[in-house]
C-alpha cells in the first residue's frame, strides 16, 4: 500500500522537518519504505514551503506525490494551492487559525487542529508542527507511536526533546478527541 502525504505551509514552520520526522519514523524506526522531497522558495522565512512524504510497504518507484491521500495545510496559500489535488475522500488536516474560509462541498474528510494555538499554550509557537504530527498520528493511525517518538528525539535539538514530546502528546490527544466527536 502506497500512501502519499503533502504538507504545505511557509518557511520557518518546520514543514520540511515534519516530513523528515514522518519519513524517519516509517523507514528507520518502522519497517516501511519512505521518501521525503521538499520544495521551497529562496526565502528562508515566510516563503512558500512544501514537504512530501511517500510511505509504502513495497519499494517506491516514482518518488513524487501526484495525488495526495493526506494533505496537511498550515497556511491559507497551501490550502488553496493543494486542496484540489487531494484524492476523493482523502484526509485534510488544517490549522483553522491559519486557514480561514474553507470551501464547502469538498469530498474530503476534514479535521481542524489548532496546532499553532496549542503550541502557543506550551510557550513555544515553533513546536506547532510537532503538535500537528501528534494529531496526524491519531487521525491516520499510519505510524507506531514509539517510532514517531524515537524519530522526534532523533530530529530535534537535545535541549528541546522534552518540549517536543509534550507537543506531540498534546496533538495526539487533540486528534483522538476529534475522532470521538
Amino acid at each position: 500500500m502506497r500512501v502519499e502525504i503533502r504538507i504545505g505551509g511557509f518557511g520557518g514552520q518546520g514543514i520540511i522537518r515534519t516530513g523528515l520526522i514522518l519519513a524517519t519514523a516509517s523507514c528507520v524506526y518502522g519497517d516501511k519504505n519512505a521518501i521525503q522531497t521538499a520544495s521551497y522558495g529562496p526565502e528562508s522565512r515566510g516563503g512558500r514551503c512544501r514537504s512530501e512524504v511517500i510511505i509504502s510497504d513495497e519499494d517506491i518507484d516514482f518518488p513524487k506525490v501526484e495525488h495526495p491521500d493526506i494533505l496537511v495545510a498550515m497556511s491559507k496559500e497551501a490550502y488553496l494551492q493543494y486542496v484540489d489535488d487531494l484524492k476523493e475522500n482523502g484526509i485534510l488536516i488544517v490549522d483553522p487559525d491559519l486557514v480561514p474560509n474553507k470551501r464547502e462541498n469538498l469530498k474530503v474528510r476534514m479535521y481542524e487542529v489548532p496546532a499553532t494555538k496549542i503550541a502557543e499554550g506550551l510557550g513555544k509557537k515553533i513546536v506547532a508542527n510537532v503538535v500537528m504530527i501528534g494529531a496526524f498520528a491519531a487521525i491516520t493511525n499510519l505510524f507506531g507511536l514509539e517510532h514517531l517518538k524515537e524519530s522526534i528525539r532523533h530530529n530535534v535539538p537535545k535541549a528541546f526533546i522534552k518540549l517536543n514530546l509534550t507537543a506531540f502528546e498534546k496533538g495526539y490527544e487533540y486528534g483522538k478527541s476529534l475522532l470521538k466527536s
Binding site: 524517519t24 523507514c27 521525503q36 516514482f62 518518488p63 513524487k64
Partner: protein, 385 residues
C-alpha cells in the same frame, strides 16, 4: 548511534548528497576540494564536517578550476580524492579533467546536474551534462560515469566510482540529477568489512627499474605516488613511458592516446552495470537512467497492466556506453523509448546502436522528472506504431 567514524553502519534516512559524501568516506576518500554550488552544496558541507573526523583534508577552493587541480595533486600525493559540483562548476573543471585523463590520475568528480545552459535553474534537477561528461575536455579520451537513481545508489555508486578510478587510473564521474541529490530516502550502510574497496596498483620493481607509464597487460600502469621513493615526471604533454614529453614522434601520441581509450574500452564488460526489468518477452523497451528510470519503472508496470509487453533497461553505467546491451535488446524488441531530462543526449547513442529499431524520445526539462503517465503514453504510442 556510536559507529565507526568512517563507516556509519546502520539504517538511516539520508539525503542523496549526504549519502554520496558518506560513500566517498567509506571508500577511503581522504581529500576533498570544492566550491559550493546548488544542488551539490550538501556534499561539500558534509565533507567539510566529516573530513576532519576521519583525519582527511577539506579545502574550500577559490573556484572549480582550482578544485579539480587540487584533487589531481592530492591523488598524486597518494590520497583518494574527490570534488563535487554542478553544471557551471563542471564547465570550469573541463580543462583539468583532461589533465587527469592524460596523467592517468585516479579521482572522482561528482556532478549533481541542474537546469542549464549557463547558470540556468540552480534549484531544479536535469540531465543536461551527460554528453559534456563524455566529451567536455578537448581531445580523444574515455572516462567512466555512473548514474544513481536512489539515495542508496548515491552511497553505493560513489564507492564504485572510487574503485573504478583506482583500478583504471582515470577520472570517474558520479553523474546524478539534482532531484536524486536532494531526495531523502532510506540508506542501509553495511559494516566496514562488507564494503569492497580498491587501492591503486603500486610498482613491484625497485626505483631504478620503474617505468612510470609502462602499462601492465590490463593497459593500466602501476602508480608510484610522490614521496614513495620513485622518480615520476607528470605532464599533460604527450609523453613516453618514462613520462617525459615526446611531441614530435607520432608513434608516441598514437600509442598513448589509444591506450588511454583502450584501457576503458577493453575493460567495459567489467565496468558496465545495468538493471533489467521484464525485458524477456518485451515488445517495447524503455532505456533510462537516473530519476526518469523510476518514473519508467512505474510506467512499465502500468503498461503491463494495460496488456502492453513493456520492459525497462536501466543504465547504471552511462559511460562507457552499454553498446552491447542496447544492441542485443534492439534485436528483439519492436520499439525503444528513451526518456531523459534534457533535449536529447543518450538517445543519440541509443539510435546509433539500435540502428533499424524505432526509437521514441521523451524530453522533459524545467526541473520536474517525467510523470509515469507521460512515459506510459509514449510506451503506448510506440507499441501501436
Amino acid at each position: 548511534m556510536t559507529m565507526h567514524r568512517e563507516v556509519l553502519t546502520g539504517k538511516h534516512l539520508m539525503q542523496g548528497d549526504i549519502a554520496c559524501a558518506e560513500g566517498a568516506i567509506a571508500a577511503g576518500c581522504k581529500f576533498f576540494a570544492g566550491y559550493p554550488i546548488t544542488p551539490a552544496t550538501e556534499i561539500t558541507e558534509r565533507m567539510a564536517r566529516r573530513m576532519i573526523e576521519v583525519d582527511g583534508m577539506f579545502v574550500q577552493m577559490e573556484d572549480e578550476l582550482a578544485s579539480m587541480a587540487a584533487i589531481i595533486g592530492a591523488s598524486w600525493a597518494g590520497a583518494k580524492a574527490m570534488t563535487a559540483t554542478s553544471g557551471p562548476g563542471f564547465s570550469l573543471m573541463q580543462e583539468n579533467i583532461g589533465l587527469a585523463v592524460m596523467t592517468e590520475t585516479p579521482c572522482v568528480v561528482v556532478n549533481i546536474m541542474r537546469g542549464a545552459p549557463s547558470t540556468g535553474l540552480p534549484t531544479e534537477g536535469a540531465q543536461q551534462d551527460v554528453m559534456q561528461c563524455k566529451w567536455g575536455s578537448h581531445g580523444d579520451y574515455e572516462i567512466i560515469a555512473l548514474a544513481p537513481a536512489s539515495v542508496q545508489e548515491m552511497f553505493d555508486l560513489t564507492i564504485e566510482c572510487f574503485n573504478f578510478a583506482e583500478t583504471y587510473r582515470a577520472p570517474t564521474f558520479l553523474l546524478a540529477d539534482g532531484f536524486t541529490g536532494h531526495l531523502w530516502e532510506r540508506v542501509v550502510i553495511p559494516s566496514r568489512e562488507e564494503i569492497k574497496t580498491v587501492e591503486r596498483k603500486k610498482p613491484i620493481v625497485p626505483a631504478d627499474k620503474y617505468v612510470p607509464f609502462k602499462p601492465d597487460e590490463d593497459l593500466v600502469p602501476p602508480m608510484a605516488c610522490f614521496g614513495e621513493g620513485y622518480r615520476v615526471h607528470v605532464t599533460g604533454l604527450t609523453h613516453d613511458e618514462l613520462g617525459y614529453p615526446k611531441t614530435t614522434d607520432p608513434k608516441i601520441q598514437h600509442e598513448l592516446v589509444n591506450r588511454l581509450c583502450e584501457k576503458i574500452r577493453k575493460n567495459s564488460d567489467k565496468i558496465i552495470r545495468t538493471y533489467k526489468f521484464m525485458l524477456e518477452d518485451a515488445d517495447v523497451a524503455v532505456i533510462a537512467y537516473g530519476i526518469p528510470s523510476r518514473s519508467s519503472l512505474n510506467a512499465v508496470k502500468r503498461a503491463r497492466e494495460a496488456g502492453i509487453k513493456a520492459g525497462l533497461l536501466r543504465l547504471i553505467t552511462v559511460w562507457p556506453f552499454p553498446e552491447k546491451q542496447v544492441e542485443e535488446l534492439s534485436n528483439h524488441v519492436k520499439a525503444i523509448v528513451v526518456p531523459e531530462m534534457n533535449c536529447g543526449q543518450v538517445v543519440r547513442e541509443v539510435e546509433r546502436v539500435a540502428k533499424e529499431t524505432p526509437v521514441h524520445f521523451s524530453s522533459k526539462i524545467g526541473g520536474e522528472p517525467h510523470s509515469p503517465s507521460e512515459i506510459f503514453e509514449v510506451i503506448r504510442r510506440a507499441a501501436k506504431a
